[in-house]
């Protein structure tokens, strides 16, 4: 198993490395740290400006050497520099090249609005990657947790939920961590939907939660710790904030129905959760993929 960290020599990059190390230890995986550089375009200018690629690549090697120093000796790690016009595209190609099972990136503070928006690279990845993407929250680098202790899976009723459940179960089994299944219920009726009464909504959510719990249990050893809860709130943000979180948690979510086949597409519920949670989040594609699907 192999993980790829999309690295930049910024605090966000250190967050991604920290999460990558945590996941590698949990899964016994290998870590690849990758820097994607923009190739120097021919910019018309008054002075010839060749040779910048070399300078940049050399600087990247130095950054990677520093990144290596952040990785503990017990994790097998390699580094790589590649050039691509798009950071996200370069990272996806790199993941395909080494047949990585997961891409890890630092999500915080990349956008214009600080922690409330994602950087453009993370955003692109979360809407196009063919392999699962894990986003490290701000400050992951300062946490002392060395592995994932519990996996929370936010599971809905729509198509694709089965694959998400399946991935979460596989992850938990491989990592030996307890699995917590969560159904989020936003009671605030959306415009255009029937105004069902809250009890009926809650009733249906409970039934759904029970069903997913049974599915999960049937796929796991008898004594495997699986729990199932429903949380409600006026909004998704409120509901998800009601959950208890600990160091070493990881939340898994699925992709939106808008996704291209076998690609990620961050759904609106997941995006809302990402905004309020300070827990690493892993987004998985809607359909199963195999090596042949990689670009």
């Amino acid at each position: 198993m192999k993980l790829i960290v999309g690295y930049l020599a910024t605090p966000g990059g250190a967050d991604a490395i920290a999460l990558g190390v945590r996941l590698c230890r949990t899964l016994g995986a290998e870590l690849g740290v990758s820097i994607i550089l923009p190739p120097d375009r021919v910019v018309p200018s008054l002075v010839p400006v060749g040779g910048y690629d070399e300078h940049l690549a050399e600087q990247a090697e130095r950054w990677l050497a520093q990144a290596r120093a952040l990785i503990p000796a017990d994790v097998v790690a390699g580094t790589h520099v590649s050039f691509d016009d798009s950071y996200a595209d370069g990272l996806i190609k790199e993941a395909a090249r080494v047949q990585a099972d997961l891409i890890v990136v630092g999500g915080s503070g990349g956008g214009l609005a600080g922690s409330y928006s994602l950087g453009s690279v993370v955003n692109e990845l979360l809407h196009s990657s063919p392999v699962p993407v894990a986003v490290a929250p701000r400050g992951s680098r300062d946490r002392s947790t060395d592995r994932v202790h519990e996996v929370t899976c936010a599971i809905g009723e729509r198509a694709g939920a089965d694959l998400l459940l399946d991935t979460a179960v596989r992850f938990s089994r491989a990592a030996g961590t307890p699995l917590r299944l969560v159904s989020l219920v936003a009671l605030d009726p959306m415009f255009g939907t029937l105004r069902g009464d809250e009890d009926a909504v809650r009733e249906r959510a409970l039934a759904h939660a029970q069903h997913t719990l049974e599915t999960a249990k049937s796929n796991l050893p008898d004594d495997f710790p699986v729990t199932s809860t429903i949380v409600d709130g006026r909004t998704v943000e409120e509901a998800v904030s009601k959950l208890q979180w600990h160091d070493g948690d990881l939340i898994m979510v699925g992709s939106s129905r808008l996704s291209a086949p076998k690609r990620l597409f961050l759904g609106s519920t997941a995006a809302k959760m990402l905004r309020v949670l300070e827990v690493p989040m892993m987004v998985v594609p809607r359909d199963p993929f195999d090596a042949a699907d990689l670009p």
């Binding site: 923009p38 190739p39 375009r41 008054l46 002075v47 400006v49 060749g50 580094t79 590649s82 050039f83």
Partner: protein, 516 residues
């Protein structure tokens, strides 16, 4: 550095090769010259010096730039490096001359940045004034406080954009070049048509003698004109240095360069002849010799010649100067980055922003110095645009001249191996270098007379002299200080003096910056 990468295979380069053809290469070249902006900035200076001989002077300035461009091409093909002139002249002549050459290159880009911003501001107000039909808005550009504030704002925005690694896309460059060339040619044709119909204020008849530089010109006037003309052709060699990006590296760069330079030369000559026939060189009214119009000829002529379409010319010049302001930050920062990487400037200049992957520190320094330079010069000078262009001509002669000689010396052991080498590595660069050296010496002398610039002087000596020669002396002083604080570069530990054949064998070690 490249050695290490190739050995370990750690770096994969996804450069899309085979993209640029002859036409797009020429467009890139034209776009780096920014003809709309260049003509506005230089016509005034040239006419003030040589009057009706402008076409001859344009050709006279073109020749050394054309010859020297081959030095760039040959050096860039053998030892591409973002230090360009700095790196090559250090390799050929050692650290001291190399440092001074690099300094000239950095200062030239700083001066042109300030001039670009100033022209952009001028035409911004002209354009707004025309759009709102309120001539008083155009006068705002003459108010020193407002002018400096707006220019600094332009520079700040351009610095911010450049330091975040945002560049103008090729498509935008194409559109800008197309727009500029169309408007310029339409302007020239309209002017000639007006002359033919007898509606021009001056209506000077065309005369072939305008193209003859050997009659009726004093040497001093000739040389001052040539500095303006040298500035006008600065940058077209960019398309000669297209290497692996072009479709056919053997043919495309040469053809693109020729196509580019011929289009520029013909456009310049056409516009020069047209404005002279239309406006004459009188010192009153629309005449090109009128000091009021000298640093902004298009500003005065756009409306009379183009009528309702006048603002299009303003817009073309505005767009051309803003786009160039944006793209010129890149070479300015890269030149400083290279000097920092080799230890000729403080190490900080070589630092690359980990997030935006551009030399952010060098970019911000370039922006700050440009702003400071513009503020000081516009407080001292009576016509900033005129004086900066004159100083720029001197600075270009300095570092292009050194580069031309560096080419001859760097390739000294293979100059006569074949005809190609004899022509492009020896004859062309040598002639170009000698011409530029002559222009440099004479124009520095002439710049001491305030009347050859805007008239601004300090202690009776022209401001242009301080901006040209004075800044070179300041550079020499800084070089001595830096030599004692950080001798690595000057003792040849970071960048060795070599010739081309020695350079072939250990080029990778030779190119690598010093270890940390």
């Amino acid at each position: 550095m490249s050695e290490a990468q190739e050995d370990t295979g750690l770096v994969s380069k996804g450069l899309a090769a085979g993209k640029i053809g002859t036409f797009s290469g020429a467009v890139l070249g034209i776009s780096s010259v920014a003809p709309g902006y260049t003509l506005t900035a230089s016509i005034g200076l040239i006419v003030a010096a040589v009057g009706l001989k402008m076409p001859a002077i344009l050709i006279a300035g073109f020749i050394p730039m054309f010859l020297t461009a081959y030095a760039y091409r040959e050096l860039n093909a053998r030892a591409p490096d973002c230090g360009a002139s700095f790196t090559w002249s250090t390799k050929a002549f050692g650290p001291y001359i190399g440092w001074m050459c690099g300094w000239g290159m950095v200062i030239a880009t700083i001066i042109v940045l300030s001039n670009l911003a100033a022209i952009a501001v001028e035409f911004l107000y002209l354009f707004i004034a025309r759009v709102f039909n309120d001539p008083s808005i155009a006068d705002l550009a003459d108010n020193k406080a407002i002018n400096i504030a707006t220019t600094l704002a332009f520079i700040a925005v351009a610095t911010l954009i450049a330091s975040r690694g945002i560049t103008t896309s090729e498509r935008v460059q194409y559109v800008l070049v197309g727009f500029q060339m169309t408007v310029l040619i339409a302007f020239a044709i309209a002017a000639i048509v007006l002359v033919a119909s007898g509606d021009a204020p001056a209506g000077v008849a065309f005369n072939l003698d305008w193209f003859n530089p050997f009659t009726g010109l004093a040497l001093s006037a000739f040389v001052i004109g040539v500095t303006g003309s040298i500035f006008a052709f600065w940058g077209w060699d960019t398309c000669l240095t297209l290497g692996e990006e072009s479709k056919d590296p053997k043919r495309v760069p040469g053809r693109a360069g020729l196509l580019c330079v011929l289009s520029i030369l013909l456009t310049y000559l056409l516009v020069a002849v047209a404005v002279m026939m239309y406006a004459g060189i009188g010192i009153e009214g629309l005449g090109l010799g009128n000091e009021e119009n000298a640093d902004n000829v298009f500003g005065a002529l756009a409306d009379p010649v183009l009528g309702w379409a006048g603002p299009l010319l303003f817009l073309a010049v505005l767009a051309s100067s803003v786009a160039s302001l944006q793209t010129t930050f890149l070479p300015a920062a890269r030149a400083m980055l290279a000097m920092g990487a080799y230890g000729a400037f403080p190490k900080l200049f070589a630092s690359v922003s980990p997030r935006f992957l551009v030399p952010a520190f060098a970019t911000v320094v370039a922006g700050v110095i440009t702003g400071a330079f513009y503020t000081v010069v516009s407080l001292l000078s009576e016509r900033v645009l005129l004086d900066t262009i004159a100083a720029l001509g001197i600075m270009i002669c300095w570092y292009y001249g050194i580069t031309a000689f560096a080419c001859v010396w760097y390739f000294r052991r293979e100059l006569f191996h074949n005809v190609h080498n004899a022509v492009f590595k020896f004859l062309f660069p040598l002639l170009g270098g000698i011409m530029l050296a002559l222009v440099f010496v004479i124009s520095v002398q002439e710049s001491m007379d305030p009347e050859n610039g805007s008239g601004a002087a300090i202690g009776g000596i022209g401001l242009v002299f301080y901006m040209g020669f004075g800044i070179l002396l300041l550079g020499a002083a800084l070089m001595i200080i830096w030599r004692f604080r950080s001798p690595d570069f000057f003792e040849g530990r970071t960048l060795k003096t070599v010739d081309s054949l020695a350079g072939d064998t250990d080029i990778s070690r030779d190119l690598s910056p010093m270890p940390d």
